[in-house]
């Protein structure tokens, strides 16, 4: 109905009557409004509004009509309701029985409650049914049946779980920590199973983890669970969960609370909260919170206290009804391990670390799967080393990278790139470019394949948030798909190439490239192996196809790298040899082809990397082989240098750097210097040149001279490298690696000056401290980069040197001890890691020297003895190891002089000892 009445006309009257009861409206309007048409209009407005409910009300505000309570005794499907036993997120649960001729069986029936005219709630209930139907695990409450009542209320018939929530069960039965851990692992098994079936629970808390009277765990209430793969179920329903309506905020992960994407890592967090409470009786976060906003902040920003630390405090929290509760530490311990001190020492160490790891704020820093979480608990129970580490020294087992610390010290960025054959070096190589083009073309082809989801899957995987767990699940799907595609390809070359490409990509994601961590390297190897085997079959069918053989090489490089990461050096060597042989075959057919020659050089480098750092069976003979390969690579690459092509020159330099580093490691210093001298001279002829490369060259030459003991000239090289580092920082102020390089250069300069002056002062110390702090920060930001850890150790070593030079021996010892602790932990975890043993030996020697300077001859002798023993351990395995031989001899000399010294604390002999160089 159109009306000529605008707001100005109506507002005054509307304001006046809107809150009046209807009877009074009429009389008021009669009195105050002269215009009958206007009066009618206002009536019309009000009455048409009344017919509508919920206009401009927030959907959040509207509350559902209370549902009709189902009566006890009524029939639902083939069952009869007996009693109400509980209320979950969206449904009320009843005990019911089925009695007919054949069965007398008790079940649980969950009926939807609330406003079930809302299509979303209904769909959510339906999804829960689908989820439960797909899960079949002894620790998950089983779905028996489902349906809809006459009124249209959906219901689920489930296995009846008689028991208690896990926290109450544990307390009532006074289970010890070990028993609680065992019980918890059952819950993990259930959640892991759910994850494998692409279901995230999202509401894990004690009330949903029941323990039956027989002592078995049952997971309940997948009411707000979510299916990871939206393609798997027809109507994915994502329930509204604004902050206020989170069902169990105390158990919610930071990302849930923030509203970010939720992944399996969130379940892992919730499991962590659950375990934390089971073991300590305290909630990890927000115990003090009185309101939701405080709790939220606590979850997102406050680190939980160590379990071993918190059990001695009184526990204050709110029970499910919101009533504040206080429990004394003695009571907490009484239902667990007996006494507070027993409980505390039980939790100290491994369990502290395991719990805190599961509770990390960043999803990608937690356990990447429930299985790994449960496995770590198992390791703990069996007395094996656990994977969880305290925050600052997270060990991820980057064994291969650790073995080349000198490379790291030289140039954190450029040399690592060379060594592991990633990115920079490869992309510049012509072959890599070709491969990339082909891969892109093939990828486009894949979209045309009849049943290809491959592309979508891969894109989807790449777009997933950083959570490793989410990627893991997506990868599982991809693998299934590829395996199927593989079977159906029937040897078709085109299709087979797609599959090879797919496996390679998946291997990339599973392995070190994705940062998932060492846990998945085995899976990556399996995927690469599948790809390689398929390659072989392709080549077998068409042996003359060069293209295929060229393409093989990048796959091999990744395979080798991953093998080295898992310590499988024997196979890595074999594969590297095979790669080299392949390139030589190719060259035989295409001599002088630059592409082939580059490939050959890279294959030499690959083999050299394997040999220059192999573990248990390394001897000087192997490092000589590495040097031979380096020489071959450098020679080839130098011939390929073209004056206008900077990339080719960069490649050659990198090979020369590697050669020099290996020579240096074998203490063949003069040859190393020759190589570097020629490279530097040649590089300086070019302008503008490659600053990163030149910087690295100078740095490495400085290192070589430093190790030789030629400190004056080492200093000169470091000083020459500094302006280059500074230019890099200026070029890109946000580049952390450039900043780090600059600080490293300054630190080197400081240390050399300190050594030369013999009277260092604290200025030099500051330079080294700055560098060390930067590294510590970068390491904290990305603990998967274990080479930062090595840089840290070097930083501490340098600080110790300077401190001891200024006379602050105690501080020096503290720094050396820090480095020693790390080295010992690493050596303990990996008995085949000889580099750590070398470090330990040198650190003991360092400690000995400093003790000697303090006049503590007894300590000094003991440290020398430890050092000698450690060097001997290395020599037992590597009889020709140049460094061990060299230092072991010097130590003998020092030890003898200390023993002979009669002067006590003012022993002049001790003051003349030089610390060995840690970098090697």
């Amino acid at each position: 109905m159109t009306s000529g009445y605008s707001w100005e006309h109506v507002s005054e009257f509307l304001d006046a009557v809107v809150e009046l009861p209807p009877e009074e409206r009429e009389s008021y309007l009669q009195q105050s409004c002269a215009d009958p048409a206007l009066r009618d209009h206002i009536h019309h407005l009000l009455s048409s509004f009344q017919e509508t409910t919920g206009f401009l009300e927030h959907p959040a505000g509207s509350h559902a009509e209370p549902s009709p309570r189902f009566c006890v005794g009524r029939r639902v499907g083939a069952y009869q309701l007996v009693e109400e036993i509980g209320e979950g997120g969206m449904g009320v649960v009843y005990r019911a029985i089925r009695s007919d001729d054949q069965f007398l069986r008790t079940v649980a029936i969950k009926l939807m409650k609330g406003d079930f005219s809302s299509r979303f709630s209904v769909m959510r209930f339906r999804v829960e049914r689908q989820i439960l139907a797909s899960l079949d695990h002894r620790n998950i409450a089983r779905l028996i049946d489902g349906g809809t009542t006459e009124e249209g209320t959906p219901y689920l018939v489930m296995e009846l779980v008689e028991g208690q929530p896990i926290d109450r069960y544990c307390d009532e039965h006074r289970l010890s920590t070990t028993e609680r851990l065992r019980l918890f692992r059952q819950a993990c098994s259930a959640v892991d199973y759910a994850h494998q079936h692409l279901v995230i629970h999202r509401d894990l808390k004690p009330r949903n983890v029941f323990v039956t009277n027989e002592g078995g765990v049952k997971l309940l209430d997948f009411g707000i669970a979510k299916i990871v793969d939206p393609g798997a179920f027809p109507h994915p329903v994502e329930p509204t969960a604004p902050l206020m309506r989170l069902l169990s905020p105390e158990y919610a992960s930071p990302e849930q609370v923030r509203g970010d994407q939720i992944t399996t890592a969130s379940d892992i967090y919730s499991l962590g909260v659950l375990l934390y409470e089971l073991l300590t009786g305290h909630p990890p976060c927000g115990a003090e919170s009185t309101n939701l906003s405080d709790l939220t902040k606590a979850i997102c920003h406050t680190d939980p206290p160590k379990p071993s630390a918190i059990v001695i405090q009184t526990s204050r929290f709110r029970d499910p009804d919101g009533i504040p509760v206080e429990v004394a530490p003695e009571k907490i311990a009484a239902v667990r391990d007996g006494s507070t001190s027993k409980l505390r020492s039980r939790l100290e160490g491994d369990l502290d670390n395991i719990l805190l790891k599961a509770l990390r704020k960043e999803p990608e820093r937690r356990y990447s799967s429930v299985d790994l979480f449960s496995q770590d608990i198992r390791f703990h129970l069996e007395g094996l080393p656990v994977a969880a580490r305290p925050d600052t020294f997270a060990y991820r087992g980057g064994k291969f990278i650790r073995r080349h610390k000198a490379f790291v010290a030289a140039s954190a960025f450029a040399v690592i790139a060379l060594l592991v054959g990633t990115t920079l070096a490869l992309r510049e190589a012509r072959i890599a470019r070709q491969e990339k083009a082909v891969a892109e073309r093939r990828y486009n082809d894949v979209r045309d394949l009849a049943h290809s989801n491959l592309d979508e899957l891969h894109t989807a995987i790449e777009q997933l948030p950083g959570s490793a767990a989410a990627r893991y699940l997506a990868i599982q799907r991809s693998l299934q798909y590829l395996d199927r595609l593989n079977q159906e390809s029937h040897g078709d070359p085109q299709l087979t190439r797609e599959v090879i490409d797919g496996y390679e990509k998946i291997g990339d994601m599973q392995g070190a490239y994705s940062g998932l961590g060492i846990g998945d390297s085995k899976a990556a190897l399996a995927s690469y192996r599948k790809a390689i085997d398929l390659q072989y079959s392709l080549i077998a069918h068409s042996p003359d196809s060069d293209e295929q053989q060229k393409l093989e090489l990048s796959l091999y490089r990744k395979y080798i790298r991953t093998l080295l990461l898992t310590g499988d050096t024997a196979e890595a060597e074999e594969v590297a040899k095979h790669a080299l042989a392949t390139t030589e075959r190719l060259i035989a057919r295409h001599p002088e082809d630059p592409g082939m020659l580059s490939a050959q050089a890279l294959a030499h480098i690959g083999l050299s990397s394997v040999m220059g750092g192999s573990g248990t069976s390394c001897s000087t003979r192997e490092i000589q082989q590495a040097i031979d390969h380096d020489r071959s690579a450098a020679t080839i690459l130098l011939t390929l240098v073209k004056p206008t092509d900077e990339a080719s020159r960069a490649m050659a330099r990198r090979a020369q750097i590697l050669l020099a580093l290996h020579l240096s490691k074998a203490r063949q210093f003069s040859e190393a210097r020759t190589v570097l001298d020629s490279a530097i001279a040649s590089e300086r002829e070019h302008t503008p040149g490659l600053p990163t490369v030149l910087y690295t060259l100078l740095n490495v030459r400085g290192l070589t001279k430093e190790r030789q003991g030629d400190h004056q000239r080492a200093l000169a090289d470091y000083e020459a490298s500094l302006p280059l580092a500074q230019a890099m920082v200026k070029g890109d102020p946000h580049d952390l690696d450039a900043q780090l390089n600059q600080q490293i250069a300054l630190a080197h300069i400081a240390v050399e000056r300190a050594r030369l002056n013999n009277k260092a002062d604290r200025l030099y110390l500051k330079a080294v401290e700055d560098a060390t702090n930067t590294v510590a920060r970068m390491f904290a930001d990305d603990p998967t980069q274990t080479f930062y850890q090595d840089l840290l150790a070097i930083g501490y070593w340098y600080q110790a040197e300077i401190l001891s030079s200024i006379g602050d021996h105690k501080a020096a010892i503290a720094k050396l001890q820090l480095a020693l602790d790390t080295a010992e932990t690493l050596a303990r975890n990996d008995p085949s890691d000889l580099e750590s043993r070398l470090d330990i030996a040198k650190l003991h020697a360092g400690l000995a020297v400093v003790h000697g300077r303090m006049g503590h001859h007894g300590h000094a002798q003991r440290e020398f003895a430890d050092a000698a023993a450690s060097f001997q351990k290395v020599l037992d395995i590597r009889p020709q190891d140049a460094e061990s031989l060299y230092y072991a001899q010097r130590i003998q000399g020092y030890a003898a002089r200390v023993a002979a010294c009669q002067d006590g604390p003012t022993c002049s002999a001790a003051n003349s000892f030089q610390l060995p160089t840690l970098i090697n």
Partner: protein, 194 residues
């Protein structure tokens, strides 16, 4: 790709306090931070909503407050924060509705949903645009009424908070809000009719 721009809450709190102390420049500095946070939150809410569901801007605004403000600031500050956020939410929703409507017109057919569908169905898009237009017109004759609507509907402020911001009594707020709803309902429904 920036996943989570971290809005430093200390910065926001400082600005808020500066603004409640009477520094208008603080609001200028605050606005873009706040806007971005709201937008991000709104989208993240929508990711979790089923299609067709209306965004609950109140929840977004309240959540933004909790997340951005670091400590318990004075009551005055909170209300002003929510008020500003409410106005921004209106802009966010309207802008989004406009772009959806434009996309639809452009292709002449129902296009694939834009990545984050803040406003669900087409009907809701129209409603949002219509509401915006009505409010703009209303603002010319009764700006205070529009403020009440923004604060209550987009911001979810209580009548006490709204009253304090506008300097009127809560009872007045209540009455005027009810009246506004009646009238808006009429205006929106009659648009569909010839």
């Amino acid at each position: 790709m920036v996943n989570n721009p971290q809005v430093p809450s200390q910065q926001v709190t400082k600005l808020l306090m500066a603004w409640s102390d009477g520094d208008p420049a603080a609001l200028d500095a605050l606005a873009p931070l706040l806007y971005e946070e709201l937008r991000r939150l709104a989208h993240s809410y929508m990711r979790r909503e089923p299609p067709g569901h209306t965004l609950q801007s109140t929840a977004v605004v309240h959540e933004a407050y909790i997340r951005l403000v670091d400590q318990h600031i004075q009551w005055n500050g909170r209300a002003h924060f929510l008020a500003t956020a409410a106005q921004m939410m209106r802009r966010i929703l309207v802008d989004h509705a406009r772009s959806r409507a434009a996309a639809k017109r452009g292709s002449g057919a129902i296009v694939e949903l834009l990545e984050d569908d803040l406003i669900g169905s087409d009907k809701r898009v129209e409603d949002m645009l219509a509401l915006d237009e009505i409010l703009d017109r209303l603002a010319k004759v009764d700006p205070q009424r529009v403020r009440i609507i923004e604060l209550k509907f987009f911001g979810g402020l209580s009548k006490e908070e709204t009253a304090a911001i506008l300097g009127i009594s809560p009872a007045t707020v209540q009455r005027q809000w009810s009246a506004a709803k009646v009238w808006l309902h009429h205006e929106l429904t009659r648009r569909g009719k010839p």
